[in-house]
């Protein structure tokens, strides 16, 4: 049975429709992604799952319950890592974990042990007594994630979990999330980072303007909506637009971005050789595997990070 079932989920604020009739299911133990640009409706969907945002219409079941009718009970099984850290600035790092655990009704004896474990997990043991305002952005992020685990959740909601983290910290976090997944925790991740979605998600939905534009595993989405490889060529800002015509003759699909042109092909190296053979030698070039970024570009005509 699905742990999350959303059907025609809709949320409007006045005239603005943030989430426009989306339906999806998340299986237990699955790692499920919501991919889309800022403002696509991902965070609103996450808040509705936790019952802290009231839906306008549609139905939603989390662990078999309506989060609007049973907010506290549903959230007892959820771990929430919001996009913007909502740490308690008036408390110290370790107290943030203990006080947060008390909100779940957990006993103090359990929490003193758990807090030390989580500080270790977040590599913040030496910052236990530090005020939250004295922590760096990355430390705050790790503390927020550790806090979301204090109740040993069955479902972990991660809203843009690695935004603002350096590459090393991201990989550490991804590793921790893999381990949770191995323990059977269901992950729901929103992200606008393609590599993150590819690393973390078994299956994902691509959201744009509050609607689902595609659904599938990262591999199947790339297979269905892109080619195997992509050639990125740069001709410099003056020649970029002028090269559109010649490039179009070389590939079935191209995308002209302000700073570069993308050509989609099964064999990227062969295509690049052909470009050079025709004398259109670019300033720089790159052949890479297709990513979800290309899928998104294909589906919406826009890049994810604008």
């Amino acid at each position: 049975m699905a742990v999350i079932e959303a059907s025609d989920l809709t949320k409007t604020y006045g005239d603005f429709t943030a989430v426009d009739g989306i339906s999806f299911e998340v299986a237990p133990g699955e790692s499920f992604g919501l991919l889309g640009p800022n403002g696509a409706g991902k965070s609103t969907t996450m808040r509705m799952i936790g019952g802290t945002s009231l839906r306008t219409s549609g139905s939603l079941r989390v662990l078999g319950l309506d989060p609007e009718e049973n907010g506290p009970l549903v959230r007892a099984s959820l771990g929430v890592v919001p996009q913007q850290d909502s740490l308690d600035e008036e408390l110290r790092a370790r107290d943030n974990l203990i006080v947060y655990g008390r909100y779940f009704g957990l006993p103090k004896a359990y929490l003193t042990k758990k807090a030390d474990e989580l500080l270790e997990f977040a590599q913040l043991t030496d910052k236990a007594k530090e005020k939250v305002s004295a922590l760096s952005g990355g430390m705050k992020r790790r503390l927020t994630i550790a806090r979301g685990l204090v109740n040993e959740p069955r479902i972990l909601l991660l809203d843009e979990p690695t935004t603002g983290l350096d590459p090393q910290a991201r990989h550490i976090l991804w590793d921790r999330l893999f381990r949770l997944k191995e323990q059977g925790v269901t992950l729901v991740v929103t992200t606008h980072f393609m590599d993150e979605a590819e690393q973390l998600c078994d299956r994902l939905i691509v959201i744009d303007h509050g609607t689902i534009v595609a659904e599938g595993s990262p591999q199947s989405l790339i297979r269905d909506y892109s080619t195997r490889e992509v050639v990125e060529v740069r001709f410099g800002s003056t020649r970029n637009a002028a090269m559109e015509g010649p490039m179009r003759e070389l590939a079935d699909r191209i995308e002209v971005l302000p700073d570069r042109i993308l050509l989609y092909a099964h064999d990227g190296e062969a295509l690049l050789d052909e470009i050079n053979r025709r004398g259109h030698t670019p300033l720089t070039s790159l052949v890479r595997r297709s990513s979800l970024e290309d899928v998104f570009l294909r589906l919406t005509g826009r890049t994810l990070i604008d």
Binding site: L54, N70, P72, R75, L87, R92, V99, Y100, G105
Partner: protein
């Protein structure tokens, strides 16, 4: 977590979305913050009525001399205004905590957002926050009564009852204040709050009897809460009671019940968007 889930699952349906029966966790957080906080900031609420008492009661009181007390017997001017200042500070503190503080925590500090990501419901948060507002009110009331005792302005044991009455006044204003906060959209609207509180302070028989006003104005004043609080405090300060005493107390009991009901109905709007 299993016993906690079982307890939450057993809640009646009308409460299951709002209340987890765990306001003590919010209160626990409040005490932790007080322990960490700068006592200087907390003490400011204590000094306000003391400064008024010194400036108006002692300073201006030297010009005024004695005035008739609730029972007609002459009392010093400081003794006349002291109970009114205690009632006013209970009102101001409760409104500040339930309006300005709640609004700031909702919009900017994200404290409530963090709380509501957990197994707490909006009612746990509201009860916990009102409790903390009352606790601060208790500290200030005890402190102010101590100052009155030191200044020789306490003449009866009845004056001790001013402490629970200060809490009752605070509860009435805090619960209604929280309901009002659910309608506030921006900081500009917060500026309207003193526009309501200041005239109530100035005209509710705080510094002089309301008999100086025409009868129509007196009725308006008597319809507003602060006058009842001040009259009740003033009667307790000398231990003299009339048939009106119970009416004054009943006013705040009703105001608290209405305020709590209104705040409960507005909790979803206030905390869930």
């Amino acid at each position: 977590m299993a016993p906690i889930r079982a307890r939450l699952a057993a809640r009646p349906r009308w409460l299951s979305s709002l209340y987890a029966g765990n306001a003590r966790a919010v209160i626990g957080r409040g005490f932790k913050v007080i322990r960490n906080a700068n006592w200087g900031i907390i003490a400011t609420g204590f000094f306000e009525p003391v400064f008024y008492l010194l400036a108006m009661g002692v300073g201006m009181g030297a010009l005024v001399g004695t005035v008739p007390g609730p029972d007609g017997a002459p009392i010093s001017y400081a003794m006349y205004i002291a109970p009114a200042l205690l009632a006013t500070s209970a009102m101001n503190g409760a409104i500040y905590d339930s309006v300005n503080n709640v609004f700031f925590k909702l919009r900017y500090s994200k404290v409530y957002e963090g709380m509501l990501q957990t197994a707490l419901g909006p009612m746990d948060v509201a009860i916990g926050e009102i409790f903390m507002a009352l606790f601060r009110g208790l500290l200030y009331a005890v402190g102010f009564l101590g100052v009155l005792a030191i200044m020789g302005l306490v003449t009866t044991w009845w004056a001790l009852a001013m402490i629970p009455v200060a809490l009752l006044i605070a509860l009435g204003f805090a619960s209604l204040g929280m309901a009002v906060t659910s309608y506030i959209k921006g900081f500009q609207q917060l500026d309207l709050v003193p526009m309501v509180l200041l005239p109530m302070f100035l005209f509710s028989s705080t510094l002089y009897p309301i008999t100086v006003f025409p009868e129509a104005i007196q009725w308006i004043i008597k319809a507003l809460p602060l006058w009842h609080g001040i009259e009740l405090m003033r009667q307790l300060s000398v231990g003299f009671f009339t048939s009106g005493t119970l009416v004054h107390a009943a006013y705040f009991v009703v105001m608290s019940v209405v305020g709590i009901a209104a705040a409960s109905l507005r909790l979803r709007v206030l905390f869930l968007r």
